[in-house]
Symmetry: C2
Amino acid sequence: MATHPAPSPVAPTNPTFAGGDALGGAGSTPAFSPLYQQIKGLILQSLQSGEWKPGEAIPSEMDLAARFRVSQGTVRKAIDELAAEHLVVRRQGKGTFVATHAEQHVQYRFLKLQPDNGDIQSEGPAERTIIDCKRLRASAEIARALSLRSGDPVLQVRRVLAYAGVPTILEELWLPGAPFKGLTAERLSNYNGPMYALFETEFGVRMVRAEESIRAVNPDEEQSQLLNVPISAPLLSVERIAYTYNDTPMELRRGLYRTDTHHYRNALS
Amino acid sequence: MATHPAPSPVAPTNPTFAGGDALGGAGSTPAFSPLYQQIKGLILQSLQSGEWKPGEAIPSEMDLAARFRVSQGTVRKAIDELAAEHLVVRRQGKGTFVATHAEQHVQYRFLKLQPDNGDIQSEGPAERTIIDCKRLRASAEIARALSLRSGDPVLQVRRVLAYAGVPTILEELWLPGAPFKGLTAERLSNYNGPMYALFETEFGVRMVRAEESIRAVNPDEEQSQLLNVPISAPLLSVERIAYTYNDTPMELRRGLYRTDTHHYRNALS
DNA sequence: CAGTGGTCTAGACCACTGG
DNA sequence: CAGTGGTCTAGACCACTGC
């Protein structure tokens, strides 16, 4: 595996068209794909297949250029896009590294709740309490969100996050059963750090992007007790679907946020 | 103004350092600034000064390269960043255009509320009703948000947005008095299109980015009447500060969103 | 067809990191 | 010091738009 003997994965010398051009022009869309996009796809495959693990360095731009038989500039543009999508992180003088949720700086990348006074760092990490972790069968709703079939095995986790002793977030999340075989309440409790970091190291599942739908709601009886708020208290309902590579949904998470001391922060551009 | 006779705004031939290097090494930060960043700054100045107006084309990459006496590739990288920040829009074969909120495709770029069923397009534009438009003096809180002094003149606008006849959004917004001299309820009512588009064409104020803080709240008596919901209904409180160039705050907007038929959508990456 | 942005290359040099 | 990513250049060619 030390040398890659000219796999020639792309057009031999010049940039060409990609797609089913061999079919004789039957294609409806010309589907022009620039070389750097093809290279990006190949790098993506290697990331996906685990050839380079989270936190590790990927080969240098020169190495990749030689491996794919393109110029350094073309590899550079491919990596630029991967870096913009936070799939890799560039560090001048050191190399390019596979992104990870275990990083100190980008911890809790997907959690947008912030304390009203003081920044995130000063608040410190939340106190986590697992309520339960059950194995059950997907309802139609859960199945649809996770691209499963109704009745497929799923894992349900519920937990509370507290800041300075005040329960602030109540989360309920569902994971597809197969990729997370062996996940238990105990392993969750013992792990110290972001849940997504545990998913990476223990199950090889890397969350790459997510989408959230936010509403204002009132808690039900149980929720109001767990969060220690009156049943009439308005709460933020945050439903998240998190995706791995290839836009494969791997988690449905429903959060209830108290917003009397915290707020959901969002940058628009 | 047809030709720019070698203004030589940057280092004559080679990339050099920027910053107060002439002070004799007293600077604490070396402050290296790549050429393309300097070019970006110069283009930004021209955008800001109104040399090219929203919707217009800026000079071609070749022209800018000649004007700034750098290579096309350097100009390209500068424009790449401006395009990534949505300050300009590239269109292959046509040119690069100053971004505008009046565009058909990117209308309501900052409004993240979406109908639960069906996409945004099918819903059509909201019915807008101006409640009032008052000229008053900034409270300490408003002044801080807009980088003004307490007592400075500000403009307050309140309005309701309804979809399919259902009042869904109640907005209250404050604008600094000086740049928006002449804005009246009538002009707002008569204008058809995004408010930010009116700001561009009538007042030369271009909103470039914004930050939102979101909470769950209950309405007060007046708010509940205007939105036609019970006083116990949980609502989304969305406080936005919108910025022009140079991170200058130009609007404070407080929205109350009903989330029984709509939701706030956010993409995380 | 000319003009625009978009891609690709090859080579030079710079800034940063670590041994 | 060698190796990495970062910048800059010059030139060629491609894809898209509109006249």
